[in-house]
C-alpha cells in the first residue's frame, strides 16, 4: 500500500497540480532574473551554478518550503476532514505506516519540483553562461562530453544537497499536520516557522540548523566541512523528528 495508496488519496485535492505549478514557478525565478539582468552575473568568474544559486536560491527555497508545508497540511486534512483516519485506524495497518507513506509521497513530490528547478539551472547555465569564453567554459573547459559530465556531476550534488536539506522540513511539517485536526493551525505554525527561519543569522551554526532554515543552504561556495556539518545536522534532525512522530502516535493512542 504505502506510497501508491497515499498517492490515490490525493486525487482531486489539487496537491499534484499545485506541486507542478510551484515547481514551474520556482524554476522560472532564475530564468526571469537572468532574462532581465544577465549582465550582472555573466561576467562573474565562478561556477555558473554558484552564481545562479547565490542569486536566486533563497526565493526558490522559500517557494519549495511553502509547497511542502501546504501539501503536508492538505495530506493530513484529507484524513481528518471526513474522519477517514478513524476508519484507517480500525484497519490492519499501523498509523506509523500511514505517516511513512505520506513522507515518501511528499519526498517524491519534492523531488519532482527539484528536478524542474534543476532543469531550469541547466537551461540558464547553457543559455547565459555557455557562450565562448563564458563562465561555463572557464569552469568546466570547452564544451565537450567530459565537461558536460563534470557539470552534471556538480548539478547532481547540488540537487542531492538541496533534497537532503529539505527532508527535515518534510518530516516536521508532516508531524505538525498530523498533530492538529484543524489544518489552519498546522499551516499557521508552519508559516511562522518559515518566516522565523528567514531572520536567523547564518553565522550562528546552532541557530542555522533550525529545520526550516536548512533549505536555504546551498552546496556552492561553501567549504566541504561546513557542507558536511549541515548534512549531518539534517540527518540527525530527520531521525529525531521521525522518532518524535512515532512516540507522539503511541502516546496519542494510549491517551485516546
Amino acid at each position: 500500500m504505502n506510497i501508491s495508496g497515499e498517492y490515490k488519496k490525493i486525487k482531486r485535492t489539487g496537491i499534484l497540480p499545485g506541486v507542478f505549478a510551484g515547481g514551474i514557478l520556482a524554476a522560472s525565478i532564475p530564468i526571469l532574473e537572468l532574462a532581465v539582468r544577465s549582465e550582472q552575473y555573466t561576467g562573474l568568474v565562478q561556477s555558473p551554478l554558484q552564481t545562479i544559486l547565490e542569486a536566486d536560491w533563497q526565493m526558490m527555497a522559500m517557494l519549495n518550503m511553502l509547497l511542502v508545508i501546504t501539501a503536508s497540511c492538505m495530506l493530513y486534512h484529507t484524513e481528518y476532514a471526513d474522519h477517514a483516519i478513524q476508519r484507517i485506524t480500525t484497519l490492519p495497518i499501523r498509523e506509523e505506516a500511514v505517516f511513512i507513506g505520506k513522507f515518501l509521497l511528499m519526498t517524491g513530490l519534492s523531488i519532482a519540483a527539484l528536478v524542474m528547478e534543476m532543469l531550469s539551472l541547466i537551461f540558464c547555465t547553457l543559455h547565459w553562461f555557455g557562450g565562448e569564453g563564458g563562465a561555463y567554459e572557464t569552469c568546466y573547459g570547452e564544451i565537450s562530453a567530459g565537461a558536460y559530465l563534470e557539470f552534471i556531476k556538480d548539478l547532481a550534488a547540488d540537487f542531492a544537497y538541496c533534497l537532503g536539506m529539505l527532508i527535515p522540513v518534510i518530516l516536521l511539517s508532516l508531524l505538525i499536520a498530523s498533530a492538529w485536526k484543524n489544518m489552519w493551525i498546522a499551516l499557521g505554525i508552519d508559516v511562522v516557522c518559515v518566516f522565523m527561519a528567514t531572520i536567523i543569522p547564518e553565522r550562528y551554526f546552532a541557530l542555522s540548523i533550525f529545520p526550516f532554515a536548512l533549505p536555504f543552504r546551498i552546496l556552492e561556495g561553501v567549504s566541504a566541512d561546513r557542507a558536511v556539518d549541515y548534512l549531518i545536522a539534517a540527518a540527525a534532525e530527520a531521525m529525531i523528528i521521525g522518532a518524535a512522530e512515532m512516540i507522539f502516535m503511541k502516546v496519542r493512542r494510549a491517551l485516546a
Binding site: T78, D82, H83, R94
Partner: protein
C-alpha cells in the same frame, strides 16, 4: 462458543467511568444487539474492541486473540462502522472502498461486491462528500462489509437512514450470519430495532451491563421482577429506570 468475551472491561476518563466491569459473551454466528441509552458506554466498548481506546482495567478476547498484543490480527478479522461514517470526501464511493481493499489485501471484485450489498452500485462514481447522509451511512457499511469479515462491529448503523433504508439494512444485518457465516455486534438505543435483528442482547446503562441473554430470557426476567413483559420497549425502559433509581439511591 463465544467469539468475543470481555472480562471486567472498564474504561475511565478523568474520573468519569464510561464502561464499568463489563463481562460480555458474544456467541459465534449470531447477531448480538448492544442496547442502551445515549452515553451508556456502547461506543466506548466497541472502540476498545477496535483498539481505538485502551481499557483502563480488564481485558477481552476476540476469536482467541488478545488485545493489545494481537491488535493487528484482530483488525484483520473485524469489519467495523463506528459512530459516524468515515471516508475521504475527495474520492468517490468506489475509490474509498478501493483504499480499504488495498489495505486489507482483497481482490478488486470485493469493491463491487460491497457496493452491491449496500445498494450503492448506482452511485459508485459520485464523490463521497456529495452523498446524502443515508448514502454516507451505506458507504460506511460497505467499508465494514468489504471482504466479508468473520466479525462485524456496527455502531448504530441505521442512523440517518430513511424507513426503507432502515428496513433494507436491518434485513441485511439479519441475514449476514447465515449468508456469510459471520458474527455481528450491533448497537442501538432503539429496542424495537434490536428486537428485529438480534439473537442475543446486552443492555448497558451508565457503563454497567444490566442484562445479557436472549429476548425470551429478558421477557422472563421482566416478568419475575414485575415489569411489563409484553412490550419489550417498556421492559427496557423499566430496567433502565430501576437502575437509575438504584444509582440515585446509592448517591
Amino acid at each position: 462458543m463465544n467469539i468475543i468475551e470481555t472480562s471486567n472491561l472498564t474504561k475511565t476518563y478523568a474520573g468519569f467511568t464510561a464502561v464499568s466491569g463489563v463481562n460480555l459473551h458474544i456467541p459465534r454466528g449470531t447477531v448480538y444487539g448492544f442496547l442502551g441509552p445515549n452515553g451508556a458506554g456502547k461506543s466506548t466498548t466497541m472502540k476498545m474492541f477496535l483498539g481505538l481506546t485502551k481499557p483502563t482495567k480488564g481485558d477481552f478476547v476476540i476469536d482467541g486473540k488478545k488485545f493489545p498484543q494481537d491488535r493487528i490480527r484482530i483488525l484483520k478479522e473485524v469489519g467495523s462502522f463506528i459512530e459516524a461514517p468515515a471516508f475521504y470526501g475527495n474520492l468517490t464511493g468506489e475509490e474509498n472502498l478501493d483504499i480499504v481493499r488495498r489495505i486489507i489485501g482483497l481482490p478488486k471484485s470485493s469493491v463491487d461486491d460491497a457496493l452491491e450489498l449496500v445498494g450503492l452500485t448506482q452511485w459508485r462514481k459520485r464523490l463521497a462528500r456529495k452523498y446524502s447522509l443515508g448514502m454516507k451511512q451505506r458507504l460506511g457499511l460497505a467499508s465494514a462489509l468489504i471482504g466479508r469479515p468473520p466479525i462485524l462491529i456496527l455502531d448504530e448503523p441505521t442512523n440517518g437512514l430513511d424507513p426503507v433504508g432502515i428496513h433494507e439494512i436491518r434485513s441485511l444485518i439479519r441475514s449476514l450470519p447465515e449468508k456469510f457465516n459471520c458474527t455481528v455486534l450491533v448497537s442501538s438505543h432503539l429496542l424495537p430495532e434490536i428486537e428485529l435483528m438480534a439473537d442475543n442482547i446486552g443492555i448497558l446503562n451508565h457503563g454497567r451491563l444490566l442484562f445479557e441473554g436472549t429476548l425470551e430470557e429478558l421477557r422472563r426476567r421482566a416478568q419475575a421482577k414485575g415489569f411489563p413483559a409484553e412490550n419489550l420497549e417498556e421492559t427496557f425502559l423499566a430496567l433502565i429506570e430501576e437502575d437509575n433509581m438504584q444509582r440515585n439511591h446509592i448517591r
